[in-house]
Structures are given as structure tokens and as C-alpha cells.
């Protein structure tokens, strides 16, 4: 099969790219480039930074155990959130895809609805639910299951639960699209050829939803590793991620060069992991 680009397709394509290109250049690439370039300058308590080129900022991040721990935790928590979202999201997407269309619309709305409120509101929702005098503790204490309220806030697990909840729609929809895009005859075809339902799922449905899995995981991983508010409000002292670190360095410590180095490292980590993932899951057909 050949791709028909038509005559002058390149020029036309370039023309289409121009507006977004200009927007990206002035409002994304230049400011971020400027900020990231700060990471190679020397911190100064008086002037914030002085134009002496250095790699010290990076050196500190890698050598100092405190920062190393934060980098490691960010990646670890993001991976955990991605995997849990993938498992839950796949189940939900599969359920949606096999559903009758009327009910499906309502379900889709329920999944999208949380996106209409902000991340902060959703995070506070968890605080209301899990707090010492929150709904769950109220129930547990009043029914006598526990004597005194459980401390559920300010832990890594709580942050992970909330992050999964926030990220789930971003996982569900790409997978859902890849499921409904499949030829509905493939499953019956496999079954007439002798494959039992679970085998059919493993051999046909799952591999063909690869694009949705990849897209969903990449979005969820990227967004989680860049999250600030949810971890800040729910993770307590147990968990600090790179997003929080950048925020602190910019807003409280005023060490912009180090903040820039953290940001650069975060982008690099995301980029490396995502490109490795893409490479591993590239389709062969």
C-alpha cells in the first residue's frame, strides 16, 4: 500500500503547521529553553543566579541522597500509579466497550464528570472522605469496627489511590477507543477456530488494544510524574515528588538554577522512559 501525499503536500502541510509552530516557539520552546538554560548557571543568594557556567546543579541532584530519593520516588510512584490505572482502566474500558450504547453514554459521562472539576477539588474530596473526622472514619467508628479514627491521610498509599482516581479517565478513553475500533468479527472468528474466551482475549483483543494501552500509560505516567497538588495535600512527609521540589525551589528557596536542573531531569526521565516504552511496544504490522 502506498501513501498518497499529493503534489505539494509538503508545502501545504508546512503551512498548516505554521500557526501552532509560532505559538509553540514563543510560548513554549523559548521560555522553557530560557528556564532550562538557567540550570547551567551558578546560584547566587543575592542575585538568584550569576552567569558562570557550571554543572554543579546537576551534580548536587545526583550526588545528594535527599534529591536522589525524591527523583527515585517520583519515578517509582508514577510507575505504580500507571500500572494500577492500566489494570483498573482496562477493565473499565472493556466493560464500557461491551456495553449497550444507551447505558454506555451514561457511564462515559460518569467517567468524564470528575474532569470537569479541578484536580484540587478532587483531592480535597479525598480529604473529606479519608480525614480523621471524614466520612469513612465516621462510619467505622460509629459502627464500632474501630475504636478510634484511622490515620489515612498523609501517606504514600493515599496519594497513590487519589492519583489513580484522577488519572483513570486518561487511561480509560484511549483503551476504550482501541477496543471499539476492533473488528467485532474477530472474537467470533477466534471462537469458531477453537479459542476459548480467555484465550481469545489474550491472543486477539489484548494485542489489538496495544495502541490504547501505550497512549494511556504514556499520558498517565507523564501527568503523574509532573503532579504537585495531590501529592502535596495527601502524601504528607512520607512522599515528596519532583514537582513539589521544583515548586519549593522556585517559590520558597528562590534557587532557580537548581529548580531548572530538577525540571530538566524530570523531562529527561519522562522522555527516556517513554521512548523506551514506545520502542518496546512498537507494533510489527
Amino acid at each position: 500500500m502506498t501513501r498518497d501525499n499529493g503534489n505539494g503536500g509538503g508545502v501545504f502541510g508546512a503551512a498548516l503547521m505554521t500557526p501552532i509552530g509560532i505559538l509553540y516557539l514563543f510560548f513554549l520552546i523559548l521560555p522553557i529553553g530560557y528556564f532550562l538554560s538557567l540550570s547551567f548557571l551558578t546560584y547566587s543568594a543575592q542575585q538568584m543566579f550569576v552567569p558562570d557556567p557550571t554543572l554543579d546543579n546537576y551534580g548536587r541532584l545526583i550526588l545528594d541522597g535527599y534529591y536522589r530519593r525524591i527523583i527515585f520516588d517520583t519515578i517509582r510512584v508514577s510507575l505504580i500509579v500507571t500500572v494500577i490505572s492500566l489494570v483498573c482502566g482496562y477493565a473499565l474500558a472493556y466493560f464500557l466497550a461491551t456495553m449497550k450504547s444507551g447505558l454506555r453514554g451514561i457511564m462515559m459521562f460518569l467517567i468524564i464528570a470528575p474532569l470537569m472539576t479541578g484536580v484540587i477539588v478532587r483531592t480535597y474530596g479525598w480529604i473529606v472522605l479519608l480525614g480523621t473526622d471524614g466520612l469513612i472514619n465516621l462510619l467505622l467508628v460509629s459502627t464500632g469496627i474501630v475504636d478510634k479514627p484511622l490515620a489515612m491521610l498523609n501517606s504514600e498509599k493515599t496519594a497513590i489511590v487519589a492519583l489513580v482516581h484522577i488519572m483513570l479517565p486518561y487511561m480509560v478513553f484511549p483503551i476504550f477507543s482501541s477496543l471499539v475500533a476492533q473488528d467485532p468479527h474477530l472474537v467470533p472468528a477466534a471462537s469458531t477456530l477453537g479459542a476459548r474466551p480467555f484465550r481469545t482475549f489474550l491472543e486477539v483483543t489484548l494485542p489489538l488494544s496495544r495502541s490504547g494501552i501505550v497512549m494511556g500509560s504514556v499520558i498517565v505516567f507523564t501527568m503523574t510524574s509532573g503532579s504537585i497538588v495531590t501529592v502535596d495535600l495527601l502524601g504528607g512527609r512520607e512522599l515528596t515528588v519532583m514537582g513539589q521540589l521544583i515548586y519549593q525551589l522556585i517559590m520558597s528557596t528562590f534557587n532557580w538554577p537548581l529548580a531548572a536542573a530538577v525540571a530538566a531531569l524530570l523531562v529527561l526521565c519522562q522522555f527516556v522512559l517513554i521512548s523506551y516504552y514506545f520502542r518496546k511496544t512498537r507494533r510489527g504490522y
Binding site: D183, S191, A195
Partner: protein, 356 residues
């Protein structure tokens, strides 16, 4: 005659509406049986019931005498070729064809050998390592056929397998499909809405309409002696003229089509006695032209002329307003005939069909 598959009083209901049946079908060992009918007639539902993809509301399904009504598709030993082929896009051709064998836990070397052999049978060597989207429609069709055949099913089901091919390829594949079916001697149920396919390929045809069977018979029987109005009008070209039965002696009847025109015809079964109303069926190629006053000819006027290349199609209208279509070879004598000309129509091999 040994029966490969029996459908006993199969009914399929969706809610309160009956989509199919009750129907009884017997598929003979080694034959190619075609389910023919317009869309929505229940032919695909019937096929899916045989494959186990649809559960019948009532009735029994016997495969070589064994009741398989409640058996799930993976255990049925039936090969199905889908209209859109339903090849696995993420698998190579060899993997697609091998799928059924792998599910049956056939040893690997044997799989390789059987895949190679079946691809030769369907005329597709050297495509093993390609993916379905790299093949043409005709090639994919062959792969789908190979994938269904390689498991050596007791019955092969074909669901409009040719409808996605272009006209030229479709004609070629018809003969090829029939050839493969006969070479392997595999019992086949074929679903189509295309009567040409049904005629060229089938041993027997089941004509379906509105969820029930209109008529079962060889292609010739269906064409020559349709039993119902639907059968007559769905299969081939036919002019149906209301008439009154004058005399009836067994099969042979004499009917009156009005204006004192009497025609001899053969009747289908269950025809009522003299005096009752019926339909006279004539096939365009069985009407020939003669002088208006010739003996036995119906006096008519040419009301329409359609030049079709090798043939010319005339509409012949009687004084009573009845129209007989007439298809004649495109020779000089017929070419000269224009609308308005009075001619005699000789109606041959006419059939009488019940009016309802």
C-alpha cells in the same frame, strides 16, 4: 443419503418478534447448499446458529447425528468464513492460518506442513510472512478460506464471502471456490443474496424470505418451477400476469388471461381447481415473437424496447393491458422492431403460481 447436519424446527426470537423459523434444513454429506434470499431474510442468522454464534430460541441442531444445540463454538468443529474475512491484523498470514491448529494443540512441525499445504490448495503460496493489510481483497479471501479449511472442519460455512470483491474477481472466485469445495469434498453451507452465485455454485439452494423457507431445490428446479410468487419474482426475470384457471388436468392447466386469451401452462403443486384465480409466470427468454395472427400466439403491441447489446428486451402489451417481457437475440430481424409494432407473442414453458 447421509446427512451431515440437520436443523430441526429452529426458531430465533428477539423479544416478541420472531426473526427466524421455524425452519427445517437437512445438509447432505459433501454437498454445497446455498441459503439465498434478500437481506433480512434470516440466512445469516441461520448460519450463525449453525456456527454457534447465535443461540436458537427453539429447536435442535444435529451434526453427524450428534446434538450440538448447546455446544459453544470452540467445540463445534465448524469452519466459518466471514463476509469481511475477519483476519487477525496483528498476525502474519501463516499465523492466521495456524491459529485453529494451535488451539487444537497440533504439534508444531505438523502445523507448518499443514499451513503450507492449505495455502497451496487455495492458490496462495509465498505469502506466509506477510500481514493481512499487505494483501489484496482476493488474497485475503483465500487466506480466510485457508484458515477455516486447515482445521478440516466437518462443515464449512461461508457468509457472503465474495461480496467484498470486485465484479470480475467475484466471477473468478465463484468457480474457484466451487472447485476447491469439490476437490476437498467438504460439506458447505453458503450464504448469499446473489442468485448468479447461488446458481453457479450450488448443488441445492434454499430460498429464504422473511425468516422462513420459500423453496428448496436444485438451481434448475428453482428457476424452472418456482412455487411461490416470491420465488418467481426473486429468481430471474419473470412477468407475472393475473389469470383465471379454465381447465386443470394434473400439472397441465389452461388459463384465461382476459380478452379471451387462453394459455397452456404447467402448474405448481396446490393449485386450486377451475374458476379460481392464479398467476401466470413467463420468463423473458421463453417468449418468442411471431406474426400477430399466428396460431397459438397472443396478439400484443411492442410498448418498450431496451437494447442490451447481445440481446434486446421488449415489453409486449396485450389489448387487456397485461405486459409480457420478451428477451430475444440481437439479430437484424429483431433490431428493426420498434415500439408500436403489432406482434404475436408465443409463450413457452409458462408456469402457474398460486396468487397469494
Amino acid at each position: 443419503m447421509q446427512l451431515a447436519l440437520t436443523l430441526e424446527k429452529i426458531v430465533k426470537r428477539y423479544g416478541a418478534t420472531t426473526a427466524l423459523g421455524p425452519i427445517d434444513i437437512e445438509v447432505r454429506q459433501g454437498e454445497l447448499l446455498t441459503l439465498l434470499g434478500p437481506s433480512g431474510c434470516g440466512k445469516t442468522t441461520t448460519l450463525h446458529i449453525i456456527a454457534g454464534l447465535t443461540t436458537p430460541s427453539e429447536g435442535r441442531l444435529l451434526l453427524s447425528g450428534r446434538d450440538i444445540t448447546n455446544l459453544a463454538p470452540p467445540y463445534r468443529d465448524i469452519g466459518l468464513v466471514f463476509q469481511n474475512y475477519a483476519l487477525f491484523p496483528h498476525r502474519t498470514i501463516a499465523e492466521n492460518v495456524a491459529f485453529g491448529l494451535r488451539m487444537r494443540k497440533v504439534p508444531k512441525p505438523e502445523i507448518v506442513e499443514r499451513v503450507r499445504r492449505i495455502l497451496e490448495v487455495v492458490g496462495l503460496p509465498n505469502v506466509e510472512e506477510r500481514y493481512p493489510n499487505q494483501l489484496s481483497g482476493g488474497q485475503r479471501q483465500r487466506v480466510a478460506l485457508a484458515r477455516a479449511l486447515v482445521i478440516e472442519p466437518s462443515i464449512l460455512l461461508l457468509d457472503e464471502p465474495l461480496s467484498n470483491l470486485d465484479a470480475l474477481l467475484r466471477k473468478k472466485m465463484r468457480l474457484e471456490l466451487r472447485d476447491i469445495q469439490q476437490r476437498l469434498g467438504i460439506t458447505t453451507v453458503f450464504v448469499t443474496h446473489d442468485q448468479d452465485e447461488a446458481f453457479e455454485m450450488s448443488d441445492r439452494v434454499i430460498l429464504m424470505n422473511g425468516g422462513h423457507i420459500e423453496q428448496i431445490g436444485s438451481p434448475e428446479a428453482l428457476y424452472d418451477s418456482p412455487q411461490t410468487r416470491f420465488a418467481a419474482s426473486f429468481i430471474g426475470e419473470a412477468s407475472l400476469t393475473p389469470c383465471r384457471i379454465v381447465e386443470a388436468a394434473g400439472e397441465d392447466v389452461l388459463v384465461d388471461v382476459g380478452a379471451d386469451i387462453k394459455v397452456r401452462a404447467k402448474a405448481a403443486r396446490d393449485i386450486a381447481g377451475p374458476g379460481s384465480r392464479a398467476l401466470l409466470m413467463t420468463r423473458p427468454e421463453r417468449v418468442s415473437l411471431t406474426e400477430p395472427d399466428a396460431k397459438g400466439a397472443v396478439p400484443t403491441t411492442i410498448s418498450k424496447r431496451v437494447f442490451q447489446g447481445e440481446r434486446i428486451l421488449f415489453d409486449l402489451t396485450t389489448d387487456g393491458g397485461h405486459v409480457f417481457q420478451c428477451s430475444v437475440p440481437s439479430v437484424e430481424k429483431h433490431r428493426a422492431m420498434q415500439p408500436g409494432l403489432k406482434v404475436g407473442a408465443l409463450l413457452q414453458e409458462c408456469r402457474i403460481i398460486p396468487e397469494a
